[in-house]
C-alpha cells in the first residue's frame, strides 16, 4: 500500500510499504477515508522529536472504515465508519479507568525509552516516534488499530467524514484544555494559538460557560476564522502588547484560565524569539516556550495555565517564580481523547461544534508532502490539509 513516510529532517515521501496485519486479537484494520496534517507533526518532520527512523509512516488523526476485525473485538464489525483516537488506550489499566487515557500503561511497546526521557512512559500514539511506541501512522491506505473497542468510535449518521475527522485529536485536545483547565461560568479565558486545537479550545471554553474568550495569534486568516466560526475575541500579537491588552480587557486582573495551544516551535516578534531560536538550534534547549512564558505572566493571580502544545524536553528561562509567587496552577497533558470523543461526536451531530471549516485544503496521498510544506509555511490560508487516500 501507499503511505506517507518520514525520510529525514524536512523530508517526506510517499512510499510503498507492507499492508498492516492484525497483530493482536483486539485489533482492527481501518481503511483510511481521511486524515489530516497536525501541527505536532511539524515537530517530528523538523527533527525536534527524537527517535524517528527513516521510513516511519506518520499521521495520527483520522477517520475510516473497518475492513478487518480481530477475534476478541466486541464493539465493531466490518463496515463500521469510525473515528479513531490518536492515542491508544487499553481501557483497563488504572490510568484508562481513571480517564487519563494518554498515560495508558499497556500500549507503548518501547516503555524503556519514555521512562528514560520522562521518568515514565506514555501510552502509544500513531505515527509519532519510537519513544511513543513506534506504531505506524495513519497517512496510508490502511492502518492497524490496537484495542479498537476502546479507541475507535462509530461515527453517527448525519456527521460527515470531514467533521468527524477532527474529533480524532484536535477537538478533544482543545476540549481537554478548557475542561482540565477548570473553565467555569463567568471566567475570562485566553487561548494562545488559532490553529485547529486553539480554535477548539476556545470553542470549548465558550460552551463551558466562559464569559469572555480571547484568542491570540498573528496569522490574519486564522484570527478571522476564529472570530467568525468560534465566536471568540481575537488579538493579533504583532499589532499590540498582549499582556497590556489582556490586562485592559480583564479589569487589570488577567485571564482566569490561560490555554497554550502553540507548542515547541512558538514564534514571537520580540528579541526572546531570536534567543530561543538560537538555543533550540544549538540544542541547548529542546523547545521554544514563548507562549507558555507569556501565558504564565498574563494569568491572573491564583489562575490556571494549561499547556496543550507538544513539548519534548527541556526549556530555558522558565518563569517558575511567577508560578509560585502568583499561586498559579500549571497543568498539561497529551490528549485523553477517549474521555471526550463520544460526547464531542454528539455535540457535532447537534450542531454545537463546527469543525468542517478547519479543512481548508483537500489533497490526495500523493500530494501529502506538498500539503505538509504548505501547512508548515501557513501559505494559501492553510489551517488543516485533509489527506484523502481515495482521491
Amino acid at each position: 500500500m501507499k503511505a506517507l513516510c518520514w525520510e529525514g529532517v524536512n523530508k517526506l515521501s510517499v512510499e510503498q510499504v507492507p499492508d498492516p496485519v492484525l497483530r493482536n486479537d483486539q485489533d482492527v484494520i481501518v481503511r483510511l477515508v481521511a486524515g489530516t496534517t497536525c501541527g505536532s507533526d511539524l515537530h517530528l518532520i523538523g527533527g525536534y522529536i527524537p527517535f524517528m527512523r527513516a521510513g516511519d509512516v506518520i499521521g495520527h488523526e483520522f477517520v475510516g472504515e473497518v475492513v478487518e476485525v480481530g477475534s476478541a473485538v466486541r464493539r465493531h464489525a466490518v463496515g463500521d465508519r469510525v473515528v479513531v483516537c490518536s492515542f491508544v488506550g487499553c481501557g483497563r489499566c488504572w490510568y484508562c479507568t481513571n480517564d487519563l487515557w494518554s498515560l495508558c500503561d499497556n500500549t507503548n511497546t518501547n516503555p524503556g525509552i519514555g521512562q528514560a526521557l520522562f521518568g515514565a512512559d506514555t501510552g502509544g500514539i500513531f505515527g509519532y516516534s519510537h519513544a511513543m511506541g513506534g506504531l505506524r501512522g495513519s497517512h496510508a491506505e490502511y492502518v492497524r488499530v490496537p484495542f479498537a473497542d476502546y479507541g475507535a468510535f462509530t461515527v453517527p449518521d448525519g456527521v460527515d467524514d470531514t467533521s468527524a475527522l477532527f474529533v480524532s485529536d484536535s477537538v478533544p485536545t482543545g476540549w481537554m484544555g478548557a475542561d482540565l483547565g477548570g473553565v467555569q461560568p463567568g471566567d475570562v479565558v485566553a487561548v494562545w494559538g488559532c490553529g485547529a486545537v486553539g480554535q477548539m479550545a476556545a470553542r470549548a471554553a465558550i460552551l463551558l460557560g466562559a464569559e469572555r474568550v480571547i484568542s491570540i495569534d498573528r496569522i490574519p486568516e486564522r484570527l478571522e476564522m476564529t472570530r467568525r466560526f468560534v465566536g471568540s475575541e481575537v488579538i493579533d500579537y504583532t499589532a499590540t502588547d498582549v499582556g497590556a491588552e489582556l490586562r485592559e480587557r480583564t479589569g487589570g486582573r488577567g485571564p482566569d484560565v490561560c490555554i497554550e495551544a502553540v507548542g515547541m516551535e512558538a514564534h514571537s516578534d520580540g528579541p526572546m524569539h531570536l534567543y530561543d531560536q538560537v538555543k533550540q538550534q544549538l540544542r541547548l534547549q529542546t523547545d521554544r516556550p514563548t507562549a507558555v512564558r507569556q501565558a504564565i505572566h498574563a494569568c491572573r493571580k491564583g489562575g490556571t495555565v494549561f499547556v496543550l502544545g507538544v513539548f519534548a524536553g527541556a526549556v530555558d528561562k522558565f518563569p517558575l517564580g511567577a508560578v509560585i509567587n502568583k499561586g498559579l496552577t500549571l497543568r498539561g497533558a497529551q490528549v485523553h481523547g477517549q474521555r471526550y470523543i463520544p460526547m464531542l461526536l454528539e455535540r457535532v451531530a447537534a450542531g454545537e461544534l463546527n469543525t468542517a471549516h478547519l479543512a481548508t485544503h483537500s489533497v490526495s496521498l500523493d500530494e501529502a508532502p506538498t500539503a505538509y510544506d504548505m501547512f508548515k509555511h501557513k501559505s494559501d490560508g492553510c489551517v488543516r490539509a485533509v489527506i484523502r487516500p481515495g482521491l
Binding site: V9, Q26, A72, C93, T109, G112, A116
Partner: protein, 157 residues
Amino acid sequence: MAVPPTKKLFATAAGFTAAVFVLRTMAARGAEPDDVHRWLVVTVQRGPGDLQPDKLPTPLQDYGDRIETRLSPAPGDRGTEIAVRFRQPPPAQSASVGARITGDDPRQGLRLALREAKSLLETGEIMRADAPSTTRSTPGGKLIGLMSRRADGEGVL
C-alpha cells in the same frame, strides 16, 4: 524540501543527544550489589484477592523458583503491587551498560516478564508492535532499532 546541511547536522545531533541521554540514564543506574537485588515492581489494576503468587501469568511462572514474588494491596484502591526479584542476585557486572546494550542483563528479561504479566492480567493480551515498524535501514535507524529492541526490558521499574 531542500534541507540546509547545518539544519540536518543539528537535527542528527539532536537524535544522538537523545540517544546519549537515554544511555546516560541507563548508566546512572548503578551496578552495586544492592541494585541488582532491588525488587522490580508494577501495580496491576486488579484487586488483591484476584491474584495469587503461584498463579501469575506465564511470563512470570516460567521463572519458577528462580524468583521471589511479593503481592501487596496498593494504597487508595489502586490495585495490587506485584514485586519480583531473583532469589540468587545476578552478578553486579550483569547490570553494566555494556551487558544491557547486548541484552545480557538477566533483569531485562524479568522486567519484560513483569510488564507482560501486568498487561495480560489487565487486558488479556500483550500488545505487539507493528511489523515491520519501518522499511528503511539507515545508521541512525539501526541505533534506534537497537534501543527499541532493548526498550521493553529497560526502564525505571
